[in-house]
Symmetry: C2
Subunit: 336 residues, 2 copies
Amino acid sequence: MPHQPTIHAVAEAAQVSIATVSYALAGKGNMSNATRERVLAVAAELGYAPNRIASALRHRRSHVIGLVNDTISTTPFAGHVLLGANTAASQAGLVVMTMSTNDEPDTEDRDFEILRSYQVDGIIYAKMFHQEITVPPALLKLPSVIVDAAPSTRERPAIVPDEEQIGATATSYLLDHGHRDIVHLGIDANLPSSRGRRKAYESVMRAAGATPRVVHGESNAQGGYDATLRALRDGPATALFCFNDQMGMGAYAAAATLGLDIPRDLSVVGVDNLELVAAALRPGLTTLRLPHYEMGVWAVEELARQMDRDPSPADQFETLAIACPLVERESVARRT
Amino acid sequence: MPHQPTIHAVAEAAQVSIATVSYALAGKGNMSNATRERVLAVAAELGYAPNRIASALRHRRSHVIGLVNDTISTTPFAGHVLLGANTAASQAGLVVMTMSTNDEPDTEDRDFEILRSYQVDGIIYAKMFHQEITVPPALLKLPSVIVDAAPSTRERPAIVPDEEQIGATATSYLLDHGHRDIVHLGIDANLPSSRGRRKAYESVMRAAGATPRVVHGESNAQGGYDATLRALRDGPATALFCFNDQMGMGAYAAAATLGLDIPRDLSVVGVDNLELVAAALRPGLTTLRLPHYEMGVWAVEELARQMDRDPSPADQFETLAIACPLVERESVARRT
DNA sequence: CTGTTAGCGCTTTCAG
DNA sequence: CTGAAAGCGCTAACAG
C-alpha cells in the first residue's frame, strides 16, 4: 500500500525542519505567519495526516477508548449505546475500539488486556440489560465507567435507567387517563428492572387509592399473551402496564383472541420502545424509551472527565439513574 | 493511573536484557529454556503486556481494522455485522475500531482520515441495507472491503445478500407447499433487493406455470397491512411472499381484520428474520435470514487476505452474493 | 546463548 | 524565529 507521507516529507517539501512542521500543525510555537501557512499548505497538498500512533507513544495518550459489552446483537440496545458513545467520542476527539465478549468472563479479561495493550485511555463497560455486578478488577487499573449495570461497590461511576421512574411514569400516565383497574404484567426474575418497576407501580397505585395487581409471565410475546389471558380472567382490568414491549405485543395478540379492541377495551403501556415492534403494532404501542443513546454519550463524557482529572485512587463514585421518556402512541384510551 | 510495566521493568526483574525479553515473549530467537521460562514467569508476575502501540510503530502493522458504517441503530443488522467482524477479528488477532458517520459524506471522509491516522491495517465499509455505491476514493488508499453494498467498479471486494436466491427460495418453498396463488408484497423503491427478489419470484412462478402477481406497499407494517388488503381484494391469494418481516407483520394484522387464520387461510413468508418480530408473532413468521453476521466474518477474513498479499494496485475484485437461509416457523401451511 | 543499538514517527526542550 | 536531538516502548540486525 502507498506509504503515507511523514512529517519529514512535509518538512522537506516546505523547506523547514520537522519541528517547525510539528509546531505549525499544532498551532503552537512562535513562527512567521508566512511559514505557518506555507507548511499547512504543503501538508494539505501532500495529504499529510499525523501518525497518531507515534504521537500516542510520545504523549502517553492514545485518544482511544475501549468499549466492551457482553453481546452486540438481537436487541437494538447495544446499537444505541454504541452510537451514543461514537457520537460523543467524535465530539471529544476520541475514537472507540469495540470488543464483544460473548458473555464469557475469560474472553472479557482477555479483552481488557488487549485494550490495555493498545493503551486505551479508558474503558466503557456496558451490559445489555440492567443488572447488578461486581466491577471486574481489570477495570480498576484505568479510567472506566459502567453502563446499564450497577456495581455493588462505588469503585467506578455507572449509569442505569431509572426503573422506579419507569414504573411511576407508566402508572401515573394510566391513572391520569382515568384507569383504576391497571394490572402490571411483570416477570419472575429478580432484577433491578422488575423490582423497581413493580415497586413504583404498587406505590403509585396505592397512593391513588387503587389496588395493585401483578400477573407474572415470561418476558416475551408468548409470556405477555398468557399473562394477559390470566389477568383478564382473574379480575377486572382496563389497562395493562407491561414489563416490556415484547409482552405488550403478546397482550395485543391476547386482546385479538378475546375480541377486545385496543385501546377502546384495553389500554396497554410497554417499556423499551423497540421501534421495530412498538411503532409497527396497530395501534402503535405507547411505551417508555430506555435511554441507551444517552447512556453511551454520558459514558464517554464521564470517561473524559475521569481521564483528565486523573482520579485519585480511592474515589467514590455514584451510580446515576437516568430518566426514561414516555413515547406516546395510540394504545392508551381515556376512560371516562 | 498506575503505569504499566515496560519491557525494561521485566528485563530488570528477570536479570536479562530487554532483547531477551522481547525474544522470549515472541517465542523467537535462541535461548535456554530456563531463561525463557523465567522471563515468561516474571512477565506474568508483573502483569506485563507489550505496548502494542510501540510495537505497531515499529512493525508498521497496527493489527487494528476500521469499521465504518452509515448508522448503527434502529435495526439489529448493524449489530450482527459488528458482532461477526469482532468475532472474526479476535480469531485473527485483530481489533476493531468503529465509526458511525450518520450518513453524512463529509463525516465519512473525516472518519477515513482518522482511521488512517491511527494506521489501521484496513477498513470495512458497511452499509445498512443492500444498495449500489461508488467506492469512496479514500478506501483505495488501503486494504478495504465493502459490506452490504455493491460497488459500481471492481476496485474493491464486496459482499451482499443474494437477492435472487431469496426470491427463489421463498417462492419455491410456497410452491412446494402446494400454493399457486402466491402474491408478492413488494416495495416501490428501485433497489437491488426489491428488483432481485421480485425478478426471481416472477421467474420461479412462471417456471412452475403459476401466474405472478405483485402488490406494492410501503416497506413497513402499515404498508404490509394495506398491501395485504389490496392483494386479497383484487384476486385469489393463499400465500404472501413479503418483502420484509415488517410487511409480514402488517399482513398478520390485515388477516386478523379480515378474520383470516394464519396459516390455515393464508400463508406468509417474510425476509430479514428480525427476531424481535418474527419469533414474537403468533404463529411464528417463516422468513429468510439476512446473513449479516456471516458478512461481518467474511469481511475481516477477506481483509486479512488482502492485507498480507499486499494487493497489486489494480486488482479486480468480485462482489459476492451470499445465500440467505430459510428460517422455518409456523406461518406456512401445506395446501392440499 | 545474550546484549547493544538503531530507528519506527512524533513532540518538545534547549541552543542558536 | 528555527533547528538539532533526545526519547516514548518496542523489534531485529548484528556483535560478542
